[in-house]
Symmetry: C2
Subunit: 91 residues, 2 copies
């Protein structure tokens, strides 16, 4: 059985690595804000995402937080101000 | 009955307003990353937070996303790299 997770990723990564982090994350999740991605992925893919990011970042300087819910229904999302959904302009 | 919500706030706010947003949010929530706060607050306080932020930001330029869960147990948090918990150095 494939377990789907709803994942929010927020990152604070040094400028020299941030485009690499974004380019990596956009293969799996939707860009929602300058420093945040979200989306639904399987547990296996989530493990892959964490391994991939671990290779890109410097764990002594950068920070990535993952918030995961077993379903999007447990998490309500509200936006104040502009809602971004396009990453192409910054990568 | 007071309903407690577990709230994650991620923001992308112009530099001239970002300290005001941080100073406001730290009255209610815990700073967890450069652009993210989290914590448990009541529904009433959450409404107050949204009203306060609406007054600070420029909704045509800035973006704030709120992810809320009815309880922290529905949301798992994992950190890769450094874990921040101190805001005093930047405000």
């Amino acid at each position: 059985m494939v377990v789907e997770l709803y994942v929010v990723v927020v990152y604070d990564v040094a400028v020299e690595r941030v485009n690499k982090v974004r380019g990596f994350l956009k293969q799996y999740l939707n860009w929602v804000q300058n420093s945040a991605f979200e989306g639904e992925i399987s547990e296996g893919t989530f493990a892959e995402v964490k391994i991939g990011l671990k290779e890109i970042i410097d764990e002594s300087q950068d920070s990535i937080i993952f918030f995961t819910a077993m379903s999007q229904k447990w998490l309500k999302k509200e936006v104040l101000g502009i809602e971004k959904s396009e990453i192409s302009s910054i990568i």
